[in-house]
């Protein structure tokens, strides 16, 4: 674990020294929050829209922005730079576990995910959004977003390790975007058309989004947050296992 932490610290330094790669992860989700609320906010007034639980439409939209913020995957592009520049081989030539090499960047993603989620939520609060589940709910909201960021970074790392190409990694990351939109991101699942409802039900991202939404709109309840954490836990184990398997057979 010491090696993973040391590599995580290095990845965090890398992130802080390239703010141009970090800033879009804050700016673009906020941009979509403002645009989506501006476009659909009047359709769903809080007084007459039961699924908003008394809050504004921005509260309903915030989970989509949090998931978008957690799904940039710039860490995988830094990994491709390491591979292309030869530093990745230097790490592989060190007597450390292959798992530590994978976990180093993922630990840094977790820290970045916590900071980005916290900043996004804190920026959103003055615009009438309340975290109905309270301080514990706020922590869970941030943690769930950060864990999703780790899952997504793990997915991107897989593409990076497999293709060793920045272009392919970038393109591979776009696979996620249909999953982000095949969710109840504008209205709850029961208000979607039948085909969209089926697609959203099959899409694991839906459960993460619904858990984030439950933490924002509802009192804290295990039934509200469990599906999201369960999906993230399963995806996290799968991503780490696949990354470790790939790096062990990396030639």
């Amino acid at each position: 674990m010491t090696h993973a932490v040391a590599l995580g610290q290095r990845a965090l330094r890398e992130a802080t020294r390239t703010p141009e790669a970090l800033l879009p992860t804050l700016f673009i989700p906020l941009f979509f929050l403002v645009v989506n609320v501006g476009q659909a906010g009047k359709i769903f007034p809080s007084e007459t829209t039961p699924f908003l639980e008394g809050q504004g439409y921005a509260a309903f939209q915030l989970p989509a922005s949090l998931l978008l913020a957690a799904s940039f995957g710039t860490a995988a592009l830094f990994l491709v730079e390491d591979i292309e520049g030869g530093y990745f081989d230097k790490l592989r030539a060190a007597p450390i576990s292959r798992t530590a090499i994978v976990l180093g960047r993922l630990l840094a993603e977790a820290v970045k995910g916590v900071l980005i989620a916290a900043v996004l939520v804190l920026v959103a609060l003055p615009f009438g959004i309340e975290i109905a589940s309270g301080p514990i709910g706020f922590v869970l909201l941030v943690v769930l977003t950060a864990l999703w960021a780790v899952v997504y970074a793990g997915f991107m790392q897989l593409i990076a390790l497999k293709t060793r190409s920045a272009a392919a990694t970038n393109s591979g990351g776009l696979v996620f975007f249909p999953l982000l939109f095949l969710t109840p991101n504008f209205v709850p699942r029961e208000l979607l058309t039948r085909p969209m409802e089926i697609a959203a039900t099959l899409n694991p991202v839906t459960y993460v989004m619904e858990s984030l939404r439950a933490l924002i709109l509802e009192d804290l309840s295990w039934s509200g947050v469990a599906p999201g954490f369960l999906v993230v836990a399963v995806a996290l184990v799968a991503m780490i296992a696949l990354n470790v398997r790939l790096i062990r057979s990396y030639d």
């Binding site: 290095r10 030869g86 081989d89």
Partner: protein, 278 residues
Amino acid sequence: MHEQTTTGRPPAGEAAVQTTALVKTYRSRSGTVEAVRGVDLRVEAGEVFGFLGPNGAGKSTTVRMLTTLLSITSGSARVAGVDVAADPDAARRTMGVALQEAGLDPRQTGRELLVLQGRLFGLSPARARDRAAELLALVELDDAADRRIKGYSGGMKRRLDLASALVHEPQVLFLDEPTTGLDPGSRLTVWEEVRRINGRGTTVFLTTQYLEEADQLCDRLAIIDGGRIVREGTPASLKAELRARTGSSADPTLDEVFLDATGRTRGRVAGDVQEVST
């Protein structure tokens, strides 16, 4: 062979590097490619061993197998007495690696890179900081230690890469084309570093396309072509063998040994005998 110390030696009777029938094959869309076809090598502790060959001859593939970066198709390889396939982590502790592209992280400072490297090789934070300072002084990068690596010149990057390969005081140092792309002054500096490192007892396994470099630095060398070793010996013995075989009145150069061994002619080399291509 240069002045030796008693540190950093493999176990008694063990070679610093030994390969037996080492083979690497790749599967590609066009079929199976045999990059290395049964290489037998023995490098004694304390030597500077040169590994020469044209582009695509199997030099880097062999080094990557020896340094645990590439799987071995068949045969065996031992570094400092450790089987690199059976116990890669133990083998990694015995060796330092500086590959063709200086494997550096441009966003870190030289000092940060060396401290991290020390931590990865098991040094405590304090020892890693001390070791980084020692190495920065050794390669004369003290002044640039706290600058980001992306601002370093090619020669500085090579020296830092060398320093990072030495952080754990390895028994064997693998240098894969350490001077490719460097200006003559930087090349001489790297040569001096290699001699100094070897003088402290570290075995150096050096691949190069520069025959003058091999002539200057290496105690012994092997020439690989088409994945097979085609010549092996000291520079002097290889030249003497060619002179005896051709009946030449003058001593041949290492360039001529190389061209003879690889079946190439000066005409095919397009005017640059040091950058031989297949």
